[in-house]
Amino acid sequence: MSVASVLRTETAFDVQKIREDFPILKQQVHGKPLVYLDNAATSQKPQVVIDAITRYYTFENSNIHRGVHYLSSQATIAYENTRTILKNFLNAASEKEILFVRGTTEGINLVAQSYGRTFFKEGDEIIVSAMEHHSNIVPWQIVCEQTGAKLRVIPMNERGELQLDAYEKLFNPRTRFVSIVHVSNSLGTINPVEEMIATAHRYGVPVLLDGAQAVQHLTVDVRALDCDFYVFSGHKIYGPTGVGVLYGKQALLEKMPPYQGGGDMIRSVTFEKTTFNELPYKFEAGTPNIVGGISMTAGVRYLQSIGVDAIGQYEHELLEYGTDVLSSIKGLRLIGTAKSKTGILSFVLDNVHPHDVGTFLDVEGIAIRTGHHCTQPVMQFFKVPATSRASLAMYNTKEEIDILADAIRKVMKVFS
């Protein structure tokens, strides 16, 4: 074997080896091998994450921060260590900028309520985009109701790309905030967020990025991006549900009031006055999802051990393969064809409703998502009631895409 071929073997993305790390993928569904293509909804968990959960409850379970006993200090160290790993994962400047939340949705609500309710007033304007998930629309609508601010929406084109000229035109002296998705969950579009943040900052406006569909596919550096807030969920990045991260620039977080009151977020409490704890604890009332935080770290470490860039590159190959294979099916239309995309294959079929597609594919052992993917405005834009969405992860293969395509052809035959 030549040196070059040895190198190639060593650097090749070994998907079969990765699949071994995910016990759930070994099972059959309806008598067929499971083909899991619903990764944008939630990813599967590697054994190391499952082990971390078991280990915590077996050997470490204890409440954190306040206990003086052995277990409590061990759990506190593990939990705070998580913060450091996440700080490094995002390249944040300090652990004070890493807040634990229940997930992306809670992170956005925290910023909307704490920042928005404090700093928005009647007539102010908040910019979101036409491809937002409901969780990046509704919290802002709620704060608009409370403050009299208004939503402005960045339009997109037929490929599912945001129109940057129109975006810049939305800015005026009343613009107070921009909250946009980094990667769209229903279209796969990777938005040019660096440029969009620079634009907003020229107008002195802070930007929140919804990174729920981004951090598992692309390397995110919050300081290089210069975003003001960044949110993501643990369960979409190979970790558990019920835990996520809100990154915020320290100077902004310092100015914001607490989101929830309770234990741990205080320094001292009397019935006359309460003083709040320092960052990040000011925003972390009550006992947190300790096992969630600790096992999310195991997921992040796993992700890093393979390399987010390598994963993104492999998934991109799968996306290109899947785009070719699905596009060759007559009567299938892909929704979301941006030039810059992650592994989302959202489609509609002539004469077959997505829910019927979902049921037929399920019987073939294929898990996809059908519906509006909590992005109803996107469906309205493309004039479809719903789509079928196959979303890719690092453990998917070209063979699985072929199985998907065969099953789609079968469904179309039944309905022809």
Partner: protein, 154 residues
């Protein structure tokens, strides 16, 4: 696969492709809207009621095969029935699609609606099958709200 054939019987595929009584009904004196935000099923039913009798009934809208076939078959079954009869048939249909699998299907009572017995294997699809029926029920009861079979669109 056999469950799937139970769900998507020829009758259902046929009614999906060629829905009966499809389209707007001019001079309707009773109508209602039904919406299932989870899958986007959306339909309108139009009725002409005379002396408590459904003299004519049509529907239009879009949805999955199960919801469309259900609406189509429903119109064929309800035409000419009284309000009370329609309610009784609705209840029978509802019992069918929500009953447990070991429950025998009474073909004599249900007639052609028995083809929906396959829905029992797919609990997620019960809402699709019953949307049109709930919509007609609300129309007959003069319920001012849009019918929805969903509480949560996540």
């Amino acid at each position: 696969m056999s469950e799937l054939r139970d769900l998507y019987q020829e009758v259902i595929l046929d009614h999906n492709k060629n829905p009966r009584n499809f389209g707007k009904l001019d001079h309707a004196n009773c109508q209602h809207e039904g919406f299932n935000p989870l899958c986007g099923d959306h339909l309108f039913v139009y009725l002409i009621l005379e002396n408590d009798k459904i003299k004519d009934i049509r529907f239009e809208g879009s949805g999955c095969a199960i919801s469309k076939a259900s609406a189509s078959l429903m119109t064929t079954v309800l035409k000419g029935k009284t309000k009370a009869e329609a309610k009784e048939i609705f209840e029978r249909f509802h019992t069918l699609v929500t009953s447990s699998l070991d429950q025998p299907v009474d073909n004599t009572q249900l007639g052609k609606l028995a083809v929906f017995a396959g829905v029992r294997e797919f609990p997620a699809r019960v809402k699709c099958a019953s949307l049109a029926w709930h919509t007609v029920q609300s129309a007959l009861e003069n319920d001012p709200n849009i019918v929805t079979t969903e509480e949560n669109g996540n």
